[in-house]
Symmetry: C2
Subunit: 292 residues, 2 copies
């Protein structure tokens, strides 16, 4: 029996989008997650590779499923896409809904240690451990998904999530890509607020969840990164210093690492109009490292 | 000076999405409209062909701009896309907001004659006359758009709009395509409610706004239609008899007309997940008849 309740099963681009919920032990709540199975998964007994996409502040799984168009490109390459939610919902913790950049819809994909968020805000465990294990072992979905060929991508806060999980769990994700990632959260207002609220005041702890800090010690995959980053030069959050991709670039360079490409896309903003434009490039990047 | 106020100008797929408003004389209200200019329009002095897309019940210009993905395909072919709104807004007429399938967001693209909707619900005049004239003559946008190469498409109520305007104004639109169109509104609950409310009880009047009736007398373009229709077999509104594409097919056949292809897409529903899947086919269909 599947761990997932299928709330909708929708034909799209020759495959199917599933809108699912399941009970999470990490968060103690029901979690929403959308999954695209490409036509190749449905028409053969061969398992397909999987791209996890982590969304940004305020998003649910719906935003990127509707507007990111990853599944258009993934359909052509026989890749599944998994869109998790951005936080637990319904915990009703004090302060959880006070701001759009902290709490509900804004987990920053860390395991919170500070109360009250330590109760349930365990999104690193959820995304990196529980959700993959549940999907790959699932009676309904496991047979389609190749747990050995998994990549990760994300946008903004989800770009931070994708980069940090890629760096923290070497080998688990064969590649990583990000749109407008919060690349150095310890040094920007969004990240400082979130890390203080979820992790506390100890800035040494923050470094364990900051891509620019983590990359300095990266030893996985023979030291070669497989990272693609796109940032729009018209992105107001980039201009305001929330993203700081240059800090990440410098850390990569200083560490003598190869394989991280950062592209600055003229005039593009922070929206899904930007993401959808380059979604195919990100699917191609993943496909190259997933052997499809 | 442009007739349009540019509320947003967003880079996407190498071109730009403009989110505009302008004061309409047809409706007596400000009207929202989104426009995509492809890279080819911005980088050369040659005017590009234009695809108008009419949305369905409840939609604003945002829904299809966000989720229809027409501009991805239009970008590759050097085509502009124009997404008008589905009704005037803000008239505050009695009954205008009582239901989701009549009144605001549900104009059916006719010129209402019945009060109170005769005041302002002149969406046929707006879409077929005022908006094209305003765009093509505009100081800012006119220079990009080729008024001699225009096609029309739409979804559901907007599919009805696209088909009827194509048939009513022979030669104005070089081709027409529709997703899940309300193909015989005189014979379905949605259409009956709308036509009664906008046009009155005289069913002979209804026939002038019903694609299945209009096609019987079609004489334009040497009698050849240039119509592509996609309908999903999993579409609940299709199953409930709101769309009736078979009636349109039969009328085309009985009239001895050629050039109307109706495709039934297995398992697809009424949503933008369906539209976006086949948006490229509809852009190709328009491109063929627009010479790009």
């Amino acid at each position: 029996m599947s761990s997932f309740t299928t709330n909708a099963r929708i034909a799209s681009f020759g495959g199917r989008i599933y809108k699912l919920t399941h009970q999470s032990t990490s968060t103690g709540t029901p979690m929403a997650v959308n999954v695209f199975l490409p036509p190749q998964a449905l028409s053969s007994s061969q398992k397909v590779p999987v791209l996890f996409f982590l969304s940004g502040l305020t998003c649910t799984p719906e935003n990127c499923t509707d507007k990111g168009f990853f599944h258009a490109a993934a359909s052509r390459r026989g890749m599944a896409v998994v869109w998790p939610d951005t936080s637990p919902r319904g915990l009703n913790l004090p302060g959880e809904k006070d701001s759009w950049d902290f709490g509900e819809g804004a987990s920053f994909y860390v395991d919170a240690v500070r109360e009250p968020f330590a109760k349930g805000y365990k999104m690193e465990s959820y995304v990196a451990k529980e959700l993959p294990a549940t999907l790959f072992g699932d009676a309904e979905f496991g047979k389609y998904l190749d747990k050995e060929r998994v990549s990760i991508a994300g946008h903004s806060m989800g770009g931070h999530g994708a980069l940090t999980l890629y760096l923290k769990y070497p080998g688990m994700f064969k590649s990583c890509s990000a749109f407008s990632p919060i690349s150095n959260p310890s040094q920007c207002p969004w990240g400082e607020k979130a890390f203080r609220g979820y992790l506390g005041e100890d800035k040494e702890e923050w470094k364990k969840h900051d891509a620019t800090e983590l990359v300095k010690g990266f030893k996985g995959e023979g030291g070669d990164l497989k990272i693609l980053i796109d940032v729009g030069t018209g992105d107001n959050f980039y201009k305001q210093g929330q993203l700081l991709p240059e800090n990440f670039e410098k850390a990569v360079k200083d560490a003598g690492l190869k394989g991280a490409e950062v592209r600055y896309q003229e005039d593009y903003d922070h929206s899904y109009y930007f993401i959808s434009t380059f979604a195919e490039d990100h699917v191609k990047h993943a496909a190259k490292h997933l052997g499809v």
